[in-house]
Amino acid sequence: MVTKSDTEPVQIEIFPRRFLNPETAQRLLDEIYRSEGVIRIMIQGPNLPRAIPYGPGKGIPIEEHKNLLLQLGEQALELRVKVGRIGLELESEEHIEGIRAACERTLPCSFNIKKRQLFHTKPTVSDYAKYGSEVDDKRILGLVDPKAKKDRNLAMLSDSRGDS
């Protein structure tokens, strides 16, 4: 997404007062993506299942949650959560104001921006299980969903235990 920089990266969390509709989330992410200095983006929120997970209606598809897509630059991601918080890693602190302005332009509700450590710096057990003992691109550390299903979310499983 961006090139390396000499400044110290910062991590911030955008916490809107309301959960965001997919359309609002898309508008906000477009604005964030256009802002400069973004290294990583993480979207968090409660799960939007594709089918009723349990109870008498178990297995019935939830049509409202089908085909929810987020477009980020050239890539389309399947939206599987109700967007509740957005974690960002920025190249430097000076980019925070640009993100704040993007939030003010797009969010229909009040929001907080907190600066804190969001992303892991060392591999977790989940990272090890999915990527092996050596990870070339450290930016993916801690971004693995521990509950990710192998057939659905598991994209990078190292058979060579990091030897490759």
Partner: protein, 248 residues
């Protein structure tokens, strides 16, 4: 002198609302038809006969029992109906009811019911025709706000989550939706099975109105610290600590 129950202390609006819920002296805000309530509950098709688990009590020849002579059976028990349930989730963002006060309402005002209180949801079980009546009473009254309370038989979480952009409580199964006319519609029954037609349950209250009608103490509305209920609670705590709660 006739006994007058004292339900809950406090002079704040929350204290007053809690007393209203417990006493059952609730304002009726809307009139959802019986058929719509039955549709949302999803236990039987509206208009269908009530399935039964035993013959009507009148035909069963009950044993000679003084308690049975004193207690009149509810219509559902007399007919031998099945036990069914309705369960509600209430948002912590000033929903009018909370699980404990739905339970108090049920235990005090509804005969033959079994209220179950959980952290973010509340279930009442009773004979089928009784629970339909109790559910309608809850949905029609000021215990319910259509955006902040919803009937959820399973996958209930939403109580402690932020609201959606349109002010509705988050629902993982998308059982309710805000219509373009500003009314809330149930599009699925309480366990998430899609309905043949949408059920209109009316318009939600304004934020100012729910803040007045809520039974929830919140630091950004009516704080618990400012309520007489806290003094009463301290009083009870002191008494039961010192003397094992013997009010005499």
């Amino acid at each position: 002198m006739a006994y007058k129950p004292q339900y809950y202390p406090g002079t704040t609006s929350v204290g007053k609302n809690r007393r209203k819920h417990m006493s059952g002296d609730l304002e009726k805000l809307r009139d959802i038809s019986d058929a719509d309530v039955v549709t949302i509950m999803g236990h039987r098709a509206p208009g269908a006969d009530y399935p039964s688990t035993h013959p009507p009590l009148a035909e069963m020849g009950e044993p000679d029992c003084p308690i049975r002579q004193i207690v009149t059976p509810t219509p559902g028990a007399a007919a031998g109906d099945r036990i069914r349930y309705s369960q509600f989730a209430d948002s912590m963002y000033n929903a009018p009811a909370i699980p404990y006060f739905r339970s108090y309402w049920g235990a005090i005002n509804c005969r033959g019911c079994d209220p179950g209180t959980l952290s973010g949801r509340q279930i009442i079980e009773a004979r089928e025709r009784d629970i339909e009546q109790y559910t309608k009473a809850q949905m029609d009254s000021e215990m319910n706000d259509v955006a902040l309370s919803s009937m959820r038989g399973c996958t209930v979480h939403g109580h402690s989550l932020r609201l959606d952009e349109d002010g509705m409580m988050f629902d993982m199964l998308a059982r309710t939706e805000m219509g373009s006319d500003g009314s809330v519609y149930y599009v699925k029954d309480q366990v998430g099975i899609p309905l043949d037609r949408k059920v209109n349950v009316g318009k939600p209250m304004s934020e100012a109105e729910v803040a007045k009608k809520t039974t929830i103490f919140r630091s950004d509305n009516i704080s618990f610290r400012g309520d007489e209920g806290l003094i009463a609670l301290h009083h009870m705590w002191e008494r039961r600590s010192k003397w094992g709660f013997r009010p005499e």
